[in-house]
C-alpha cells in the first residue's frame, strides 16, 4: 500500500509539472521559441501572488483572479516589446536574450524580496485529506491542483483545435508570411500566445507557492522539470506533456523513497534514460 501511496503522490505532483511544461510547450509550438526564463516567470508569479495576498488580505486561490491577468499582460508586453525582436532563423538571440531575462528576473526578485524562503498559506484546505482506499489518503489540495492541471491542459487543447484563436496560432506557426495574408498580425498573435503561456504560468506559480517554500533562485529547476516533462511526453502533444509530468513526478517520488537525496536525481536519470531509448518521447506530434 505504501508504494501505491507514493506513486499516487507522484502522479498528483505530476500535474503541477505538466502545468510547468504546458506553457513551455505552447510557446515552442507556436513560435519555436524556448523561453529560458520560463521557470523564473513561474517564481515571479509566486511573488506577485505574495504581494496580492498580503496587500488585499485574500487567500492564494482568490489571488489568482488578479495574478492571472497581471501575468498575461506582462507576457503580452514582453513578447511584443522584446521577444518578437529575437525571432528569426538564428538560434542565438532568443536563447541568449531569454537567458539574460532569467538572470534579470532572479536578481530583480532578490533585490526586492531578499533570498528569504517564503510560502503562501492556503488555510484549512492545506491539511484536509480523505481516505480513498483503506490506508490510502489523498490531500484535498494536491487533488484539486491535479484536477485544475488536467482542466488547464484540456482547455488548451480545446482552444487550439476548436477556436479561431487556436486556428490563428496554428496557422501562424505553420507559415507566418501567409498568415499575414489572412489578416493576422503575427506580432499580435505571438504576443497572445505568450500572454496565454504566462496565464498558465500564473496558475502554476500560485500552486507552487502554496505547495513548497520558494525563493528567487528556484526558477531554473522548474524550467528543467517542465522541459523534462515535455521531452518525456513528446514534443507538440499537450496530453503527452501531462503524461510526461506524471512520469517525472512518479520517478521523483520513487527516488525519494529510496533515499531522500535521490529525489531529483531519480527524475533526471529517468529523463536521460528516455532520451537515450526513445528520444521522440512517448506521444510525439512534431519533431524537435
Amino acid at each position: 500500500m505504501q508504494w501505491f501511496n507514493i506513486v499516487l503522490q507522484g502522479v498528483l505532483i505530476g500535474g503541477l509539472y505538466a502545468m510547468f511544461a504546458a506553457g513551455l510547450s505552447l510557446i515552442f509550438g507556436v513560435m519555436r521559441l524556448v523561453n529560458i526564463a520560463h521557470g523564473d516567470l513561474i517564481v515571479l508569479a509566486a511573488y506577485v501572488s505574495l504581494v496580492v495576498t498580503q496587500a488585499m488580505g485574500v487567500d492564494p486561490l482568490t489571488s489568482l483572479l488578479l495574478v492571472v491577468p497581471v501575468m498575461a499582460v506582462i507576457g503580452y508586453a514582453l513578447q511584443r516589446g522584446l521577444l518578437n525582436r529575437t525571432l528569426g532563423d538564428d538560434l542565438l538571440p532568443p536563447l541568449l536574450v531569454t537567458f539574460g531575462l532569467s538572470i534579470i528576473i532572479q536578481n530583480g526578485l532578490l533585490e526586492l524580496f531578499t533570498a528569504d524562503s517564503r510560502r503562501l498559506q492556503a488555510g484549512a484546505i492545506e491539511v484536509q485529506a480523505f481516505e480513498l482506499l483503506q490506508g490510502v489518503w489523498i490531500g484535498v489540495l494536491p487533488l484539486l491542483q491535479f484536477a485544475i492541471a488536467v482542466a488547464v491542459i484540456a482547455g488548451l487543447q480545446i482552444l487550439f483545435y476548436r477556436t479561431a484563436l487556436g486556428r490563428a496560432f496554428r496557422a501562424t506557426s505553420d507559415d507566418p508570411s501567409v498568415a499575414q495574408l489572412m489578416g493576422l498580425d503575427t506580432r499580435h498573435v505571438f504576443a497572445m500566445a505568450m500572454a496565454l503561456s504566462l496565464a498558465v504560468i500564473a496558475i502554476a506559480g500560485v500552486f507552487l507557492a502554496v505547495r513548497t517554500n520558494f525563493d528567487p533562485a528556484i526558477g531554473p529547476a522548474r524550467l528543467i522539470f517542465g522541459f523534462e516533462a515535455v521531452i518525456i511526453g513528446g514534443l507538440g502533444s499537450m496530453w503527452g506533456t501531462l503524461a510526461g509530468g506524471i512520469i517525472l513526478g512518479v520517478s521523483q517520488a520513487i527516488g525519494a523513497q529510496i533515499d531522500p537525496g535521490w529525489q531529483l536525481l531519480a527524475g533526471h536519470i529517468v529523463f536521460l534514460a528516455i532520451l537515450a531509448a526513445r528520444p521522440q518521447g512517448f506521444f510525439p506530434k512534431v519533431s524537435g
Binding site: 521559441l33 542565438l92 532568443p94 536563447l95 537567458f99 533585490e111 528543467i224 536525481l265 524537435g288
Partner: protein, 339 residues
Amino acid sequence: MSRVEHATPSSRVGVALIALALVVLAVAPYWSDRQTLRLLAEIYAFVALASLWNLLAGYAGLVSVGQQAFVGLGGYVLFALAILLGVHPIAAILIAGPIGALVAIPVAALIFRLRGAYFAIGTWVVAEVFRLLASQVSVLGGGSGISLPAAVVVAMAPSRQMREFEIYWLALTLTVIALGAIVILLRSRHGLALTAIRDNELAAQSNGIDVWRIKFIVYVLTAFGTAMIGALIFLQKLRISPDTAFSVNDWTAFVIFITVIGGIGRIEGPIVGTIVFFLLRQALADLGSLYLLMMGAVAIVVMLWAPKGLWGMIAERLGWQALPLQRHLVFEKEAEGKQ
C-alpha cells in the same frame, strides 16, 4: 601554383602586440603584487573558458548553458586524485583534461539527440546531474564540500609565494595553449569547416562537410579544455563544493556575457569581453545582485542591437584581425611580379 596565406596587415600588428603582452605577463610575478597575480590568473581562466564556449557556440553552433558540468568535473577530479590517490596537483590538472573528454563522449551521445534551445537545456540538466552526484560523494565532502589538505598544497612548492607563482604561470600557460590550440584548429581544414558551419550550417552540410562529426569532436575537445581550466580554478580556490563547482552563475552566465559582449564567433571576442567584464566588476563591485541584473540587461541590449559584440563592431568597421586567421590565396606569378 598558389598557396594560402593567413596574415593581414592588422593581424601582423596584432600578433606583435600579443607577443609583447605575453612577455610582460610572463614576468608579472616580478613586477606585481599577490592580489594582482590572483586577479590576472582569474582573468586568464575566464579568457580560456569564454574562448572555449565561443568555439562551441560561435563556431560549432552548439549553445551550451551547462559547461559548468566540466568546470566542476575538472575541479572534483583534481581533488579526488590529490586527496584520494596522492597525485601531484599539477599532474592532476593535466589528467583532468582527458577525463573531461572521456566523460563528454557519452554525454554528447545523449544530448545530441536534442536540437537548438532544447539542446541547451539538456546541457543544463547534465550539469545538474553532475552536481547532485557530487553531493552524494561523501568521501569528497558530500553536499558541504571539502578543502585541499595542507599536505597536498605543500607538495606543490615549499613556500606560499612559490606556489602562487606556479599557479599563475600554470594559468597563463594553459590559457595560451588553449588559445593557441583554438587558433591552430581554426587555421586547419577543420577550422575552415567550422567557419562554414558558423556562417551557414545547411550550406556547409550540402558541401559535404560532416557537420555532426565535427560538432561532436568540438564538444569533446571543449570539455577537455574546460575540465583542465576547472581543475586549475579550484586549485587556486583551495576548496570545492557542489554548489560552487557547478555554479551556473559563475561558469556559464559570466562566460556567456563575456562572449556576447566581446563578440561571438570571433576569436578576439572573448579576450575583449573578459577585459570589459573585469573592468565593470571593479567599477560596480559594491552593487551585489544589481550587478548581475545590469549584466543581464547589457547582454540583452548587445544581443539585439550589436549582435556581433564590441570586437565584432570594431573588426567589421575597420577590417581588423588581431590574429592571422584569414585565408587568402596568393598566386606565385603575383608574388614574382611584386619583386
